[in-house]
């Protein structure tokens, strides 16, 4: 015999503790038959009545969980916040740390820029591993009902109320990303510009001779600017000291750039062989001038804007 009721009972009892299975089976079968009888007594078709009753009892897994007093959740409210805090804490530095170590090791083995790929993959793998094992641990704690001493919350744990920041996080992140992209572009254009020589070899946009001093110097200035952005975010507001450092950094970048552009030392002379427009001296002069004026305009605008913010925030 394999009626719907039999199948329902089997499905329910599958996950009920063994020692009570038979008793629950007998009782539940009797209850189901009572419910069916009640409906057929009212004139309903037995098959229809059986379907209705079993539908009313609902998903056998849910019923079984209620019999076994089992939790239908991976991590309940008792441990959820602790789990979340640990997860955030671990993910905040371990993957980045491992990724950096792997990148450095690969780079030391002569992988060059190819070392970034394995670093990112390692960081992602570590993040997935951390998430999995931490979640598994908590799911087990939840199920075994081990009494874990979750530290009681006290008022002393309250974080400082957020101060109104003169330096929004989004601005800092945007600036840092822009700086990093600029830093990355300098070596990148050396290997992958869009200009190809007659043999299909890559022609850098910037004069390779600049690598002897000027380009590394500019990269150092940009790297200092990244540090500056982070320090500025930590200090949370503009001060005149910060303004001064910002001005110095801006000038340290813009002045050499403008000077190189004006003295026609910025662009790779090899470009002229491929782009006839660049070959003409007049055009090169105007381009140099445009770069110099552009750099100067950006510096001036940035300093005016920064001075305005600094005055607002220091007077408040």
């Amino acid at each position: 015999m394999n009626t719907l009721t039999d199948r329902y009972l089997a499905a329910t009892l599958r996950s009920v503790p063994t020692q009570r299975r038979d008793e629950i089976a007998t009782e539940l079968r009797a209850s189901i038959e009572d419910m069916i009888d009640d409906r057929t007594g009212g004139g309903a078709d037995p098959t229809v009545a059986e379907r209705e009753v079993l539908t009313e009892l609902g998903n056998p897994d849910v019923l079984a969980a209620r019999y076994a007093d089992r939790r239908l959740q991976l991590i309940g409210p008792t441990y959820y916040l602790l789990w979340l805090r640990l997860l955030k804490l671990l993910l905040s530095f371990i993957p980045a740390l491992v990724g950096t170590v792997v990148t450095v090791v690969e780079a030391a083995e002569g992988e060059g820029f190819g070392a970034i790929g394995p670093g990112i993959v390692a960081a992602m793998q570590v993040a997935v591993q951390i998430t999995f094992w931490l979640t598994l641990t908590f799911a087990i704690i939840e199920r075994t009902q081990t009494a874990v001493d979750v530290p009681e919350w006290t008022v002393d744990q309250l974080p400082d109320a957020p101060v109104r920041r003169g330096v929004p996080l989004a601005d800092t992140i945007a600036s840092v990303i822009m700086l990093l992209l600029t830093i990355a572009y300098l070596p990148f254009q050396h290997y992958h510009s869009w200009v190809r020589g007659t043999d299909g070899e890559n022609i850098p946009i910037l004069d390779p001779a600049l690598w002897s001093f000027w380009l590394p110097a500019l990269i150092v200035v940009l790297a200092l600017s990244v540090i500056f952005e982070i320090v500025k975010y930590r200090m949370a507001r503009w001060t005149w000291t910060l303004f001064g450092i910002r001005a110095l950094l801006n000038l340290a970048f813009a002045v050499p750039l403008a000077w190189l552009a004006l003295s026609d030392r910025l662009l790779n002379p090899a470009l002229a062989e491929r782009l006839s427009w660049v070959a003409e001296a007049d055009n090169r002069d105007s381009l140099g001038l445009a770069i110099a004026v552009g750099a100067a305009a950006i510096v001036v605008w940035d300093l005016v804007d920064t001075a305005r913010k600094t005055r607002q925030q220091t007077s408040a």
Binding site: I24, D38, R66, Y67
Partner: protein, 113 residues
Amino acid sequence: MVSEDVLRTHLQELRRGTVVVASLVALRRPDYGYALLQRLTDHGFPVDANTLYPLLRRLEDQGLLTSEWNTEESRPRKFYRTSDEGESMLNRLLDDLAAVQTSITGLIQGVDR
């Protein structure tokens, strides 16, 4: 206009604990699962079968109900009865229910005035 879902959730919350009280009261007279379900429904305590049957088990495990198999009828039935322990807990629960009712009445009158 309150949405039906919100209303249903609050009613469920309000009713949740009363099923235990109602069952302990009803089982002062021994009864089996489905008959109890019908009695509760008749007295205005509609309860789902898939809630009540596991609940009876749990109350038995907690010693608030005792049970006995009756095999004389056409099919074997497990009869539950409120135990002495269950009775004393029921009295505490009923006191509390009355206290809630009193407090609510007092609050309503206090606010109305």
